[in-house]
Homo-oligomer: 315 residues x 2
């Protein structure tokens, strides 16, 4: 009887790892450095060695391990192949479960890290209890992860849920990182909010605490909480873009819940208060029942989701 | 060994029925009237009676029938329950397979008619060979059906794929049938194209064949084919709305192919020539590989899709 699973979240700097019991509780978590030399050839052997060391430390046999879930920063197909390689790791195209099985012979599942984090939030986080969910990650960019019927929607080329690159503004003159103009990411990410703030501040001389110090998504929402009128206008503009964008996402996949995470979401429920009313205004009637919640797993969403690939029954 | 399946497409006026062999070829197709009296209580018994008569005519035993697929004009959950009733049929909330099994004891699957038609196009029509597909139906309204991994994406409340109600125009002053303003349907449906045409013609006095006779989506695309400059402008505007809308759909579900059907699609490949370049301009890089094709099954998509619910292996 398998008692445990490992969740492995491979990032460009560190690999986060969690040991989970079969009920999905994390028993231990730790990190190892991501060694990217030689096209990242050492990454999976390093992971395997770290898992073996942990098993020895805890007195766990290989037969006690139900499997290993792996989140990877790149497109991964349903068989666990990094289809375009994982550029940030130096990886070329190869099948992750097969390679990892060369070191540790237990079931392995691999998927894109953003999708795995979304899966984690559905399984044990802000979306717990729902199996039609859209995760929205508001960080440096805007990421997304779509879970339908309890399964990750990865899409034809692994770009399912790339909602940050929906076109939402015809009048934009600056380019997004993806080279298009007017992407949702240009207004709803941490950097997008700073852009909205700078544009608003440049418009007139209205007093605002944002005119002092460095502007960040955090400083904008702190100012909103302090009642700063200019900051409220910026938050309204942010909410208009994101709420309208998510209304369009809902017309496509009709989720039960949106779970908002990423650094910007640390602003808390006030963020949702600027997004949800706009969503309700623009959403198709039958889609308006969608709930909004904050992500709860933070940086651990990846290890939870990776373990969930193994432990959640109907994946 | 089951040799046959029935595909049943229940509409507000007629029920279309097809008898299919196990390879998905239609052997016979016919229609019966939809009797909506008494909350549509006779519809399923009438269907059962018609299927029994056909089996008798063809010398087919019940044991030769693998099952019956049913498309219904309304939201249907994964168990085959018409969750909000089917208003156009007079139906309340009930489980379609269970009721139909009271008359004919073979496996029954039921789903929303637009989604079933999309499934038919994927199985035997314009999307054959692809299992990540978005069907776009340009008729009186704009409908959609999304197939992911060979399965219908019906969504939390059966509104998955309602892409006609994506918000695409902030400046709209008239209301859509759904009561919102600026829905894709207001520009890309048959009636939407007529609206675009009337607005364009009212703008100035530029000569156009569209100034004579009744304007329809057909007359607009006929005029485009004849080189009418005003009609070309209207088609460009249509393509701008639809291409941009589908780029946003692609950022969400990243399909392999868009299959365009409905009355407007009778214009043929020229329609795609106005949509695809705009899609390519606005789509996220990783989503640009999506193909465009015309639907090929016409009004038979529903019976094909319904039979496919039974016959296609991995549904």
């Amino acid at each position: 009887m398998s008692k445990y699973a490992f969740g492995v979240d491979i990032g460009g700097t560190t690999v986060k790892i969690g040991l989970f019991d079969k009920d999905g509780c994390v028993l231990d978590k730790w990190e190892i450095p991501t060694v990217k030399d030689n096209e990242g050839a050492a990454i999976l052997p390093d992971v395997a060695e770290s898992l073996r060391a942990k098993m020895e430390e805890k007195g766990i046999q290989l037969s006690d391990i139900k499997g290993i879930g792996v989140g990877v920063p790149g497109a991964v197909d349903d068989e666990g192949t990094a289809v375009n390689g994982a550029v940030n790791l130096g990886w070329g195209v190869f099948n992750i479960p097969k390679v990892l099985n060369g070191y540790l012979d237990v079931p392995v599942k691999a998927a894109n890290d953003a999708n795995v984090a979304a899966f984690g939030e559905m399984w044990q986080g802000g979306g717990k209890g729902y199996d039609n969910m859209v995760a929205v990650t508001l960080g440096t960019g805007v990421g997304g992860g779509i879970i339908i019927g309890g399964k990750i929607l990865s899409g034809a080329t692994g770009a399912g849920g790339e909602i940050g690159h929906m076109h939402v503004e015809d009048a934009e003159t600056e380019s997004c990182g993806c080279k298009n103009k007017g992407c949702l990411e240009q207004y709803a990410s941490a950097t997008g909010i700073v852009r909205l703030a700078k544009r608003r501040l440049a418009k007139d001389d209205k007093a605002s605490v944002l005119r002092e110090g460095t502007i960040s998504a955090k400083s904008v929402f702190d100012a909103v909480k302090a009642g700063d009128e200019v900051a409220v206008e910026i938050a309204e503009q942010f909410g208009e873009y994101l709420g309208k964008g998510l209304a369009n996402v809902a017309a496509v996949v009709n989720p039960e819940i949106f779970v908002i995470g990423g650094g910007v979401s640390k602003a808390g429920d006030i963020l949702i208060s600027y997004v949800e009313p706009v969503f309700q205004k623009y959403a198709f009637t039958a889609c308006r029942g969608a709930k909004f919640a904050l992500a709860t797993l933070g940086n651990d969403a990846g290890i939870y989701g990776a373990a969930g690939l193994i432990l959640r029954e109907d994946v």
